[in-house]
């Protein structure tokens, strides 16, 4: 999808008698990348970065999609089963899955995200070992699966049994932490559009993950990104796959509701 160049018009607000910058407002039609003021990281990315995402031949993340497609068909584990053996054509059976995860899993009495569901299939149904977090096969399979929902609106379920976990994710998002004493809201709500030295702050949306980051020269998970944001404020991090990160993942999905799944998005 093509989008025009941003034209910036910065609004200045005053808080507690001290001048500070509020989020930049822009007169641009971002098409599906903006829903009721909620904007994909795509709309904050540089034009060159957007162009790479728009072109499947340039977008390095598609390599992970291909690797995932191979793994989908390959038998793994003691039982000689493949994902395809149970689920058939991923384009059909997996369409929509990436748009609604993470979900409440009754058998675990907590949320489960896509990576964890993949490993649950491996350990409980295929006699295979769980893939390590951020390992190439887990990234490839996660990217492949979420890619099956590309273009679909992010639409998590946050009520019913998921509600308390959603609330925990929201609390995580608003809690100041680390030596710099900053919460996610300081960068991604109060300052989206503003610069953090050379980096333009986005609304911190999750709809493009796993994302191909030019800085990483590869695909990385959402939990890797969140851990990086924790490290940047000199906070003690949680392990990828921890309940804390899965809960905030649901809150992020709700923040991104209505935005299209972009996996694999391309970001700086």
């Amino acid at each position: 999808m093509r989008a025009p160049q941003p034209v910036r018009r910065v609004l200045v607000a005053a808080a507690a008698g001290v001048a500070c910058f509020a989020s930049a407002a822009e007169d641009i039609d971002w098409g599906p990348y903006e829903v009721d003021g909620r904007r994909s990281g795509y709309t904050y990315a540089a034009a060159e970065t957007r162009a790479i995402q728009d072109d499947d031949f340039e977008n390095g993340g598609l390599l992970w999609v291909e690797k995932g497609a191979e793994l989908w068909e390959t038998a793994h584990g003691a039982d000689g089963a493949s994902c395809q053996g149970c689920h058939g054509d991923a384009a059909e059976s997996m369409r929509g899955v990436g748009a609604r995860y993470p979900v409440y899993a009754a058998e675990r009495e907590k949320l489960i995200n896509l990576e964890q569901r993949i490993n649950q299939c491996r350990t409980e149904r295929m006699g295979a070992e769980a893939w390590r977090w951020e390992s190439e096969p887990l990234l490839a399979m996660t990217t492949y699966l979420r890619h099956q929902s590309r273009g679909m609106a992010v639409s998590p379920v946050i009520d019913g049994p998921a509600a308390p976990f959603f609330e925990q994710g929201k609390a995580f998002y608003t809690k100041r932490r680390g030596q710099l004493d900053l919460a996610c809201i300081h960068c991604h709500e109060m300052n989206s559009g503003n610069m953090l030295r050379a980096q333009r702050l986005s609304q911190g949306m999750s709809n493009g993950f796993p994302t191909y980051r030019l800085k990483w020269q590869g695909v990385g998970s959402l939990h890797r990104r969140i851990r990086g944001c924790n490290e940047d404020v000199r906070a003690e991090t949680y392990a990828p796959g921890s309940d804390e990160y899965v809960n905030v993942e649901l809150y992020l999905a709700w923040r991104a509701r209505g935005l299209p799944v972009e996996t694999p998005a391309v970001r700086n």
Binding site: C20, G178, L180, M190, M195, R197, R234
Partner: protein, 160 residues
């Protein structure tokens, strides 16, 4: 607020009594070496009138701290009239800040800006308490030392 026991320890360390006013905020810092370094300051009228150290701040050292990503990293949020490629825009420009604010006011804005604006994004550069989940390598340490704060204040005062 530090406990009375801590105050006594501090007083002993510094070798004189009565330095801490009743309304003052007392900070006890543990240096990385395991040595106890103590600094106390009094907040009055949204300012910290007394310098944190006996050695006057050095504006040149202050300028280096402001630019250094591992220390002040002020440019990540502020435009500052120094030679650099990128400046942040989440904070106001610091051009002419030395004409707007005096040393005492600048000191509090570095030490603990939340005293002035509890919602602020600006980190407290000289605070070790009331923080949540600080990474172990930084726990108990302020972002800048007392002398570094004085150096940065001296530099900011040159921005007129």
């Amino acid at each position: 607020m530090a406990s009375t026991r801590r105050k006594r320890l501090l007083t002993t360390l510094r070798g004189h009594a009565g330095a801490v006013a009743a309304l003052g905020i007392l900070v006890l810092l543990t240096a990385g070496s395991g040595r106890v370094a103590a600094a106390d300051y009094v907040v009055r009228d949204y300012a910290i009138p007394e310098p944190l150290t006996a050695t006057p701040g050095d504006p040149q050292r202050g300028a280096a701290i402001v630019v250094d990503r591992a220390r002040g990293n002020c440019l990540s949020c502020h435009a500052v009239p120094v030679d650099a490629d990128f400046f942040g825009t989440t904070g106001p420009t610091l051009a002419a800040v030395g004409a707007r604010l005096n040393a005492a006011q600048l000191r509090l804005r570095l030490v603990d800006p939340k005293v002035i604006n509890p919602m602020t994004m600006m980190p407290a550069y000289f605070k070790t308490e009331g923080l949540y989940r600080v990474a172990p390598e930084y726990a108990g340490k302020p972002i800048l030392s007392a002398q570094e704060i004085e150096d940065v204040v001296a530099f900011l005062l040159t921005l007129k």
